[in-house]
């Protein structure tokens, strides 16, 4: 049973259609990420759900109530903004209490709820501070508490981590996910950071030019992209142009070596296949049926992972290998063998 239903949602600014026939069903308590490049319409969808933008067409239903025509302040939706948006003239406690005050909640009840929210975000002792006295991460946690205090039906997060430094981003996103799961609140999270979306979402909507290209779990999105855009946008891909030589066995040739793809492709079909960097193995690897020669061009040490760029069959490919202290990486210019398997290949369509 869908808790939030977005049907045939459209938004045009003049002749520019930024959201086209957008459809999404969100279950109660689900954490959905809208992922896509800048200008793909993800923030516009979020703003339409929040009530800040009026859709050109389509409808938004929350918990059985049609909210498409409702004003933003009548939707009971909590929102976190990229720029924190804490009220500078109010203390942390007053910021958190703002929504409750507007709702007319009595002071004793309000104070209890504020204390509860501040404890939830681990800032119980900061109630009397002003926003400018807090760090960026703390301000964003207060923004989360403020959004959650009036018990909204849906929580909307508009790139709330973008303005924070890398370390705080990771810890805060985990905190957001933990609180979201604890409260069981339906959440829509907008981000252009795929790692962020992958790490905390139940499902991801990959958006491209105003449409939802693919909706799926992080595992599905990463491993089974259904469009070329999704495959290219999410993660790093090595793409190869191949031609099916034998339909029955799914045989194609890559750099002179035979590679077996899943059966069902017509003989003579010319297409692109893609392999993730972690699907390519340096050297001969048991269980990998295809080995192609390559020349290492660049070596990037990234801590736990070493990323190699090598030339294979005229194409530059990227492969990741785990860093092992007893096994130094090959140096640029060295000839190597690379193992790969047809079962890891993604057949690109669209």
């Amino acid at each position: 049973m869908s808790f939030l239903t977005i049907s045939h949602l459209e938004k045009a600014f003049g002749s520019n259609r930024v959201v086209k026939d957008f459809e999404l069903d969100v279950a109660k308590g689900e954490f959905i990420s809208l992922l896509g490049p800048s200008g793909c319409g993800k923030t516009t969808v979020l703003r339409m759900v929040a009530g800040f933008e009026r859709p050109t067409a389509g409808s938004i239903v929350i918990d059985g109530q049609e909210v498409t025509g409702l004003k933003a302040n009548a939707r009971n939706i909590g929102m976190m903004f990229q720029a924190y948006a804490l009220f500078p003239n109010l203390t942390v406690a007053d910021n958190v209490a703002f929504g409750l005050k507007v709702k007319g909640v009595a002071k004793p009840e309000r104070d209890t709820r504020v204390a509860e929210m501040l404890a939830l975000i681990g800032l119980a002792e900061k109630g009397g501070s002003y926003p400018f006295q807090l760090s960026g991460g703390q301000q964003q946690r207060v923004a989360l508490a403020r959004a959650l205090a009036p018990s909204p039906r849906v929580l909307l997060l508009d790139e709330p981590l973008s303005a924070l430094d890398a370390k705080v981003r990771v810890s805060l996103r985990n905190e957001i996910r933990e609180i979201q799961q604890r409260l069981g609140i339906t959440t829509i999270f907008v981000t252009h950071d795929q790692e962020e979306a992958m790490s905390i979402s139940d499902r991801i909507v990959v958006m491209n030019a105003g449409i939802a290209d693919q909706v799926g779990t992080p595992f599905e999105i990463y491993n089974r992209p259904t469009t070329r855009f999704v495959a290219n946008f999410v993660g790093t891909l090595n793409t190869f142009a191949v031609k099916v030589e034998d339909a029955a066995s799914g045989l194609v040739r890559l750099g002179g070596a035979a590679l077996t793809l899943p059966a069902g492709l017509a003989t003579g079909t010319e297409m692109h296949i893609a392999l993730r960097p972690e699907a390519l193995r340096l050297g001969r690897e048991p269980g990998y049926d295809t080995v192609v020669p390559g020349t290492v061009e660049e070596v990037h040490f990234m801590g736990s992972i070493i990323r190699l760029r090598a030339r294979v069959a005229g194409e530059v490919v990227v492969l990741d290998t785990f860093n092992r202290a007893d096994q130094p990486p090959p140096s640029p210019g060295s000839e190597v063998e690379i193992s790969l398997s047809g079962k890891d290949a993604i057949v690109l369509q669209g």
Binding site: N76, G78, N89, G99, P150
Partner: protein, 260 residues
Amino acid sequence: MTRFLAWFALIFGCLYFLLPLVGMAEFSLKMRRGEYSFDAYARVFEDPTFWATFSYSLAMAGATIVVGIFLVVPTAYWVRLKLPQARPFVEFVTLLPLVIPAIVLVFGYIRLYNTSSWLPLTGSALGTDFLLTMGYTTLALPYMYRSVDTGLRTIDVATLTEAAQSLGAGWITILGRIILPNVMVAVLSGAFLTLAIVVGEFTMAALLNRPAFGPYMQILGANRAYEPPALAVIAFAITWGCMGLMQLVTRFSKHERAKA
């Protein structure tokens, strides 16, 4: 050489500005022959007309500030939030009082609102006070609008509005509890400038025949020798006091420090 010229320009500027003030202040202290005294000031403060006109002008300034806040804050906020394309036009309109002399405005008012017009505001003291307040609001508009607009520039109006809306707030709550407190220092700056303008204003009050401080200063200046410079010093003190208050308010406003 450049350094010397800069110092010379600074000292020349200070002398140009301060010498007449010092001369005026010194003259105001010379009422008693052969010695300095505050007799002129005492005479001014003993005059009940001084207090009556000064109180009247203060009351008018208060009314002007209230009208100005109610007119300018929502307008500047709305222009910034919803009509940014109208900003040049609104700015032009708010600048008009600087180029249209007060005498032109007040003659316009008298022609429009005299006792034989469809809205005879000049027919009663209250009506004329209302008219004078509107006139003062117009005169103070360039200063009030600019102050408030500058204040609004220091906050993210759109995001704060959306944050408040998402928490259930309506327009009045947003303006009263979020926007106004965050531009209060700017509003107070505009208010103190308005106070300084209204307290010294002569043309409108004189032509509308109201017992304000400006006409009182003029009458005193035409008939006495030592009291007018004393009054001028008092008027300067009020203006500078207002500017000092603006600085104090800015310094002691806790959350404003975050913007600095």
